[in-house]
């Protein structure tokens, strides 16, 4: 497509042309020419995994989709350290057991991602303390970031209540984990109240 057709498009958008500049929105596909060679998965292209910048418990900066999800098999959940009804510690403890069951697959082809719902309060240092208190092994990232980015992430991943009142109350947060295999676009969910054996068994068939 040559510039003339594009100008035609630009005119079609009802925008005036400035001095040699055509205002346009660009899709990430075009920019992805700079990013790693492989294309993003279909699920990512549909916008379910915004590529927001986050920080893990070791202080490392990561991009959510590119570094944490792309081509990987992951289990993801949102949590708070100050959980009032105790659901979060139970969930984390369950996942800790699952981590043991998965043995050396953790960190190699299966990764856990836990994102805080209180980024203002839970800094990487605090997340590290929390992770250490459960003695988590490698392959499990605890993430925080800018409040706007965390908000974008949780909305895109479906972790919200349509009622804004209920959504504001952090104690209503969703205790399900999303598990998935990005390479095959397989995304499901499992309750973190399930037994560790149930959660671990998911990874037996997710990648075959």
């Amino acid at each position: 497509m040559d510039r003339r057709s594009f100008l035609g498009l630009g005119a079609g958008l009802g925008l005036s042309l400035g001095a040699g500049l055509v205002p346009l929105l660009v899709p990430t596909r075009a920019l992805a020419a700079q990013a790693p060679n492989e294309p993003n998965s279909r699920a990512a292209q549909s916008g379910f995994f915004p590529n927001v910048p986050l920080v893990d418990q070791d202080g490392k900066s990561v991009m959510f989709y590119d570094d944490m999800v792309k081509n990987k098999t992951v289990l993801l959940n949102f949590f708070l350290i100050g959980c009032q009804d105790g659901r979060c510690p139970i969930a984390t403890a369950n996942l800790r057991k699952v981590q043991d069951m998965l043995g050396d697959r953790m960190g190699k082809d299966v990764f856990f991602i836990s994102v805080t719902l209180q980024p203002e309060l839970e800094s990487p240092k605090i997340l590290k303390k929390y992770a250490d208190s459960f003695e988590v092994k490698p392959g499990w990232s605890f993430l925080t970031g800018k409040p706007h980015d965390i908000e974008t992430l949780r909305r895109s991943l479906g972790y919200f209540d349509p009622d804004p009142e209920r959504d504001r109350d952090l104690n209503n947060h969703i205790g399900m984990a999303r598990y998935g295999n990005d390479k095959f676009n397989r995304w499901g969910a499992i309750s973190l109240r399930s037994s560790p054996a149930n959660i671990a068994s998911t990874f037996q068939w997710l990648g075959i």
Binding site: M1, L25, G47, M176
Partner: protein, 675 residues
């Protein structure tokens, strides 16, 4: 559409153009579309950089496509069809309604012609092994991974390795164990190209879909009580999906009285490269009681013809089959894995099933419009038509869209019937029987005819009423079936009548209960002057009597369907793959109270294996269409129902779950067991 929405739509068109043209960054730079300073594309007027799909220097902007950028505008993972996501335009009434393919037996109905596959054998009452794709080994003694993945549940089944209960077990159970197949079928589940509408960008080449026998919807089976059948389902699905779905299946025949191992339990997986054998004895509920081998005294009505295959007043009719794989049911059904099965009465189920002209009291839904109730049928079922309703969403480039991260439910802005968007159907000037199926994933319909003509309703969820019910309109939620007779003889050739959905629904949670005017036009009937011989069908004054509810209730249970902590729960718990939530002695009757925990959610609750009757619906008698037997409960917000249900004949595990399949996948399910 607001200015903003128009802008978004145009932008998506441009996006498609750019990606199709495969422009590189250098191209864009050359065209002067990038700012010299940041190297980023200049934002469109009226939208801030925040909404732009670019990584900025300070890395605080979300990238990816429109949906995530709209996450702050709408429902994030739950885009609203027609607002956040708009399918490409398609002209209505361009394609003719396809009839469902009529499923045929294997060649000569000879079991030798059922494909064995590696390691497998002839169809038989013992389970067949399959390739364990994890180890690459053939497993002869464990039919599927239930044995290793869910050992606690496998132990709950009556026979090890899920052997067929109703076949070759005559020495163990002479009443239930001797229903060897009389018909042999085989299906191949594959990915193929399907044309939802030629106006979509994919055009007449179509786009990838998954289907039983490579068609969407899958074929229509015509089966009969008293004629047990066998179906071997081969899974050839690929590892790479359609952007959603998984190549692992468990096929459920909704809502046949099938032994648990053939029922399509979410835990019993059929992996790609394997097949799964289903055996359907095709018996009415009450086999043990009617054969005299139950402690419950039978009340055999004088019009009953035979007593060895259960009570014909418990007959089902319009069934459907669909994938039921744990956690992926909604995605797999959306990929196209659903079809229908019409089951007819045994020829001798009732004493009087003869020609109705000479004997108006003749009974039976026989697949022959000259006999029994004489319901419209015709040769080769020409006038007994399945209509599969499914709403679908496409992104502006025409790709199938499924809201992978939405917990609410999934609806779409395109209405399909039998796999085609807004088709037309030429009809002859006589009576037709239409079997309406709401395939989902989550929509509730309220059907009207454009000329105000009424529907003659004859069945609900496949169960014929005691007498036809005339309705100006009727509501239908996911998984419900309604059989309707329409008589086109009263219209001149050339008359057009449109089937319209007037239920307003803006998200997957449930309808708003507002009636839209004019509503959505879904299917157009065009009356023709084509010859059809003679219409020998009738609309009888009476249909199937209701079975009694004489058996005393031995137990009452309560099930609350609600949202808690963002999960979909039953009695406060998400589905637990290790737990049997109710153990019910075979042959007993129970009262189940089912509540909707509130909120704006509609839950179509479905219990496998047996039909239920309402004792009360919200404290009063149910509406006329729901006074008979059903298998899908329309649980409106804050609704409460009490139902009577019996648990008869075969043993094993069965689920109860919400049939808004997105809720089901986010764990609104329990497993119960007949012991």
């Amino acid at each position: 559409m607001s200015q903003y929405e128009k802008l978004i739509q145009k932008t998506m068109d441009v996006q498609r153009e750019i990606t199709e043209a495969k422009l590189s960054r250098r191209d864009l730079l050359k065209m002067g579309m990038l700012s010299a300073g940041t190297g980023m594309l200049l934002p469109i007027s009226g939208l801030s950089l925040r909404s732009a799909y670019a990584k900025s220097g300070n890395k605080s902007v979300s990238s990816s496509t429109v949906s995530s950028s709209l996450s702050s505008v709408s429902g994030g993972g739950c885009p609203v069809p027609g607002v956040d996501l708009i399918s490409p335009p398609t002209r209505p009434w361009i394609e003719e309604l396809p009839r469902l393919v009529e499923k045929q037996t294997v060649a000569g109905n000879d079991p030798a012609n059922v494909t064995y596959g590696p390691g497998g054998g002839a169809p038989g009452p013992k389970p067949i092994g399959g390739l364990n794709t994890l180890t690459g080994q053939w497993e002869g003694d464990c039919k599927h991974r239930l044995c290793t993945e869910f050992p606690a549940m496998e132990a709950q089944m009556p026979y090890h390795d899920l052997e067929h209960q109703a076949w070759g077990k005559g020495d163990i159970d002479p009443v239930l164990g001797n229903f060897a197949p009389q018909k042999y079928y085989e299906q191949h589940v594959r990915q193929f190209n399907h044309v939802w509408h030629p106006d979509l960008p994919a055009g007449t080449a179509g786009q990838a879909a998954w289907g039983f026998d490579s068609v969407v919807p899958g074929p229509m089976f015509r089966t009969r009580y008293g004629e047990p059948h066998f179906n071997r389902i081969h899974n050839h699905l690929p590892a790479q999906n359609l952007g959603f779905g998984i190549n692992q299946m468990s096929t459920h025949m909704h809502n046949l009285h099938s032994p648990s191992e053939s029922d399509g339990n979410p835990l019993f997986t059929n992996y790609s490269g394997q097949y799964y054998d289903h055996h359907y004895p095709n018996v009415y509920a009450g086999v043990k009681q009617y054969s005299g081998s139950s402690s419950v005294q039978p009340n055999i009505k004088p019009y009953i013809g035979r007593t060895d295959i259960g009570n014909p007043d418990e007959a089902l009719g319009t069934l459907w089959y669909h994938d039921h794989k744990l956690d992926f049911t909604s995605q797999n059904v959306y990929a196209g894995l659903a079809g229908m099965n019409s089951i007819y009465d045994a020829w001798d189920a009732y004493k009087n099933t003869g020609p109705w002209k000479s004997n108006p009291d003749a009974m039976g839904d026989l697949g022959d419009e000259t006999r029994g109730w004489g319901l419209p049928c015709g040769k080769n079922y020409e006038f007994d038509v399945g209509l599969v309703f499914h709403d679908r969403q496409f992104d502006p480039s025409g790709r199938d869209f499924f809201p992978l991260t939405c917990f609410d439910g999934a609806i779409g802005d395109k209405y399909t019937v039998n796999g085609k968007i807004q088709p037309y159907m030429p009809v002859k000037r006589r009576k037709y029987r239409f079997r309406f199926l709401a395939m989902g994933p989550s929509r509730t319909y309220n059907w009207f005819l454009s000329n105000g003509a009424p529907f003659v309703m004859i069945s609900n969820d496949g169960n014929l009423f005691p007498a036809p019910v005339i309705a100006k309109n009727f509501e239908q939620t996911t998984a419900e079936r309604f059989d309707v007779i329409l008589d086109f003889s009263q219209y001149k050739a050339g008359t057009e009548i449109i089937l319209i959905n007037r239920a307003e629904q803006t998200n997957g949670r449930g309808p708003t209960n507002n009636l839209l005017t004019p509503g959505f036009q879904v299917l157009k009937f065009v009356v023709t002057s084509d010859d059809f011989g003679v219409d020998e069908s009738r609309i009888p004054a009476k249909l199937r009597p209701l079975p009694d509810m004489d058996q005393p209730i031995s137990n009452s249970r309560t099930w609350k369907f609600e949202r808690g902590g963002g999960e979909w729960l039953v009695n406060g718990q998400p589905f637990n793959r290790d737990v049997v939530s109710a153990e019910i002695p075979e042959g007993t009757a129970e009262r189940w109270s089912i509540y909707n925990g509130g909120g704006s959610w509609l839950h179509p609750v479905h219990i496998h294996y047996e039909e239920h009757r309402y004792l009360t619906y919200n404290g009063t008698t149910p509406e006329p269409l729901a006074r008979g037997r059903k298998d899908v409960i329309r649980l409106d917000p804050n609704a409460k129902v009490d139902l009577y249900m019996r648990f008869r004949d075969y043993k094993g595990l069965y689920p109860m779950h919400c049939h808004n399949v997105v809720h089901e996948d986010h764990a609104m399910m329990v497993m119960w067991k007949i012991a």
